[in-house]
């Protein structure tokens, strides 16, 4: 596990809507799927209704390799939501495709996280409804 959850307090669930559905559908299939422009091929995250590079409304979804590095991280030491037991860390990961995702790291203690650490995507079932894309350290 990446975060010690308190099952009695549900965590904020992802809100799925037409602009981001491809990402969350991919997560349910345990695939890291990132939005891509159907015209110029630029990757985008978070998903947007139009390509910021070429203004094309043609949005597609493409499987990412799931490899990346830690760009930054924080560690909550004081509880702000009862669903997340402290301490827990949140990481910002840059994928090889160039986009960044906010997530959590599995199996790494907060004091062991380093910027530049190579990581790969894994999927974690949080409860009956929610699966989240997480990362683990790559040696």
């Amino acid at each position: 596990m990446s975060v010690d959850y308190d099952a009695g307090h549900p965590i904020p669930a992802p809100t799925v809507h037409p602009d981001n559905q491809g990402f969350w559908d991919g997560v349910m299939r345990q695939e890291l799927v990132i939005q891509r422009c159907g015209s110029c091929g630029a990757w985008a995250h978070p998903p947007r209704p139009m390509c910021p590079e070429c203004r094309s409304p043609k949005r597609e979804w493409s499987r990412a390799k799931g490899k990346g590095t830690v760009v930054s991280f924080v560690t909550y030491r004081q509880s702000v939501h009862p669903g997340f037991k402290v301490p827990y860390s949140v990481v910002l990961v840059e994928l090889e495709e160039g986009v960044r995702l906010v997530s959590n790291l599995q199996g790494v203690k907060p004091e062991e996280i380093r910027i530049g650490m190579p990581v790969e995507a894994v999927f974690e079932r949080i409860n009956e409804e929610v699966v989240l894309p997480k990362f683990r350290k790559v040696d």
Binding site: I11, P12, N20, H45, P46, V71, S72, F73, R100, L132
Partner: protein
Amino acid sequence: MDGFKGKAAVVGFALSPFSRDSRKTELRLSCEVIRDALDDAGLLVTDVDGLVKHADDASDEHAVSSSMGMENLTFFGEVKWGAAPCAMLLRAAMGVASGAARCVVVYRAVNGASRLRMTPSMKTSGQMSTSDLLQWTFHSPFGLTTEAGRVAMTVRRYMHDSGARSEQLGWVPVVCREHGACNPGGAYHGKPIRLEDYLASDLVVDPLRRLDCSEASDGAAAFVVTTPEVARDLRQKPVCILGAAQSMVRDTEMLAGYYRRDPARLPEVRDVGAKLFRTAGVSAGEIRVAQLDDAYGPLVPIQLEELGFCRQGEGASFCEGGSRIRRNGAIALNTSGGSLGEGHLCGMNLVAEAVRQIRGTSTNQVNTAELSLVVTGAGGPAAGLLLAAL
């Protein structure tokens, strides 16, 4: 921008006391502080023909207008987000300079301490706009549920890139509290802290400590903006709005520039500074006093870099020891104490202090202050003002 350079002046302002529990509605706080700001200016309620409010505030323009007996408003509307204090004054200056209004009141009243606002639960699913969803649905499920957490992500990367250490970053709250300790109107009058206190304060969301984060107050502020012609005949020394600027750039997010090339920079603040200095025809080196957004202390060194007060990556060492950012330093920082050392009123009090520095009425008056800079909105869309004597 040059279109209204020198065409509007701040002629009055008021701040309510900073408190933990105002025991007043935000509408009443608004009305009282507007009345006080008009008294300060020597103007009447019936002189007001414009109102600028904050989008998050509960006190709508019509409620204020009706409660105070205002007549014939010709200019009103809302401004949003953390940059609003400066952006609201910009809006007022636009109104006055364009002729849409002659006397515009900017106001904000927030019971930030006694009634919780902007709680994480407000940002969970169900009630969000699609623009909120862009950001929040990719943050909150991972436990990144607070403003402080989002800021901490930027700060961690800044510390990594620049080598900034806690022992350096701590001088921002220490100096702010020093300045606030001599401000009888602030919440921390007579209550300075030492670096040791800072280093002993709890890590809330590592690397942010409790003393990095300003604590919300109950309170209100109002400003009166009018034309230079009217300003010259009023009670107070008029304070000219030499420049006012806003900035939003590619991939600006709310306190989370995670998706841009360099997640540890504040390009909006850089652009605001550059535009203000260009408009006024001055350089950063000519500025002696600045009120910067210190809702989160560690964003101050980055702002000092972006504004050109020191080189990129040197903001934290610039602040170390405090001497360069104290009243008599190279750049006197947050001379009323700011959000960390006077009180957190969503940055409105930073603008008030910028006005005082031109009036010559600060409790930490910088004698050589001919230009007074204020920046709000660090970490998101930003805004700034450059003030001078009329």
